[in-house]
């Protein structure tokens, strides 16, 4: 294996870690409080939701990559694999947010409202009057939905990129899949520690902490990249 064919996957896996970390910051999760309609976002933990979306994307990417006639080193095919991952993740998270919204509106009877902004930056709707007193918002307003879609797309790209890098290094799909799962979890948990439980999306002040998370994941992925590239010599 020559130097260049090792350098490209190395760069890819390092970037993948940073992208996965960034993606988690976009996904609007309210953690436990959101399950009681006490805070805006989806009512589950950051890591798990990002992992659910990311793994759907990973499977979509792997299915495309496994089709006959796909050349992983062809830039066009490479882009298609990444985009398939992104779209798979977006479908998963988009439908989850939509159905969650239906339950908030028809099952709980609340109006979707964000707490961290006066007006929804996308639709321009006022948010504050619709928030139940004593809570910090509830539901998935449009700005959170769009932010979630961006996060899902990034997560899918990140997961697919890590997978593609491992395949390019010569790992079999099974080995690449299991390493990608572990790698995804590692970066997603780092991001969720950076967020500290809940985030509404890109309009949340907590979003400004994103550089810390990206730097942390970048360094961790750099180390993982070195390990993985050296491992590839032993296939």
């Amino acid at each position: 294996m020559d130097f260049l064919s090792m350098l490209i996957p190395f760069v890819e896996i390092t970037l993948a870690g940073a992208i996965i970390n960034a993606s988690v910051h976009f996904v609007p999760v309210g953690g436990a409080p959101a399950a009681m309609a006490t805070s805006t976002g989806i009512g589950t933990g950051t890591t798990q939701l990002a992992a659910g979306a990311g793994f759907t994307g990973l499977m979509a990417a792997a299915t495309i990559a496994a089709q006959s006639g796909v050349d992983i080193f062809n830039p066009l095919h490479w882009a298609i694999i990444l985009l398939s991952g992104a779209v798979g993740s977006m479908i998963m998270l988009g439908l989850t947010m939509l159905m969650g919204q239906l339950i908030y509106v028809f099952g709980v009877g609340v109006v979707p409202a964000a707490d961290k902004c006066e007006r929804d930056p996308i639709t321009g709707d006022y948010q504050k009057p619709y928030i139940t007193p004593g809570t910090t918002g509830h539901g998935v307003p449009t700005v959170c939905f769009i932010s979630g879609l961006i996060g899902a797309a990034l997560g899918g790209i990140g997961g697919a990129l890590a997978y593609v890098a491992l395949i390019q290094l010569g790992f079999s799909p099974e080995v690449a899949g299991i390493i990608a799962v572990g790698f995804f979890f590692m970066n997603a948990v780092l991001a969720s520690y950076n967020i500290g439980g809940t985030i509404e999306g890109f309009h949340d002040p907590k979003f400004k902490k994103i550089p810390n998370g990206i730097i942390a994941s970048f360094i961790a992925s750099l180390l993982t990249g070195v390990i993985v590239v050296l491992m590839a010599l032993g296939i």
Binding site: M186, A216, M231
Partner: protein
Amino acid sequence: MSHGGGGHAAELYPENQIIALGTLLAILGMYISQFFPQVSMLLGGLLASAATVAGANTTRKVAAYGLGTGVPSIGMLSLGMGIIAAVAGIFLVNALVKHFHVDPIVLYFIPIVGTIIAVILGYVVGRLTVNPIGMKIPIMVESMTKLSLMGALSILGFCSAYAGGFLPEIIIPGAIKNGVMALAFIAAGMAILHPFNACLGPDESHKRTLLLAVACGFLTWFIFAVARLEVISTVVSLVLWALAYREFIKQSLKDACAVYYTPELPKRET
């Protein structure tokens, strides 16, 4: 998830002793799996569960501080690092032999190399959670190191018990390519994060948590024994699990303020 007060109940045994014991037993288990493949599940599986018990004990110590994202996240992080370290241990040593033509005897150091990589990865990630991420838990770095180590050891331990050895030509087709490592990832992960996650609260006691950790370790062993379709290990692990589990339930019933068998609410004292 709320932590119901957390708190640091007295420890029955010091954490470092449990970690050292868990590390030694798990590594011993891998060598037994390698050299005596006929008893790999019986003894290797049993000893691999020592690593999950030690991991669960460390989880108890670090998660009592309150992570802000619940106990499960740290279990998944530890297993995420563990799985990278475990696979890396196998492939890196293989690289030495295949690419750099080192004497194949180094293949027998795979568990040690996996251990070292897990410690390095855990330390680096632990440092990253303190700076730049800014977790305010004083024992974060050492705990992450230990958890990464225990994650890697339990994955390697159960995988080599399943495959019947840790040499690359045995473990890669026998436990990685067929996906059994995914089971090792999640089953060992649950055995590490569940005991404290289940027992936390103001009246948490180290004894109950450890008993449950042992029961969960045996349950993980049982899962692998069933997946390998081995009758003897399945029966032995099930019996040992039942003993530990019974002990845990007994201790819980003893520690409870009251045990009811009927739908009645206790009278309010105030």
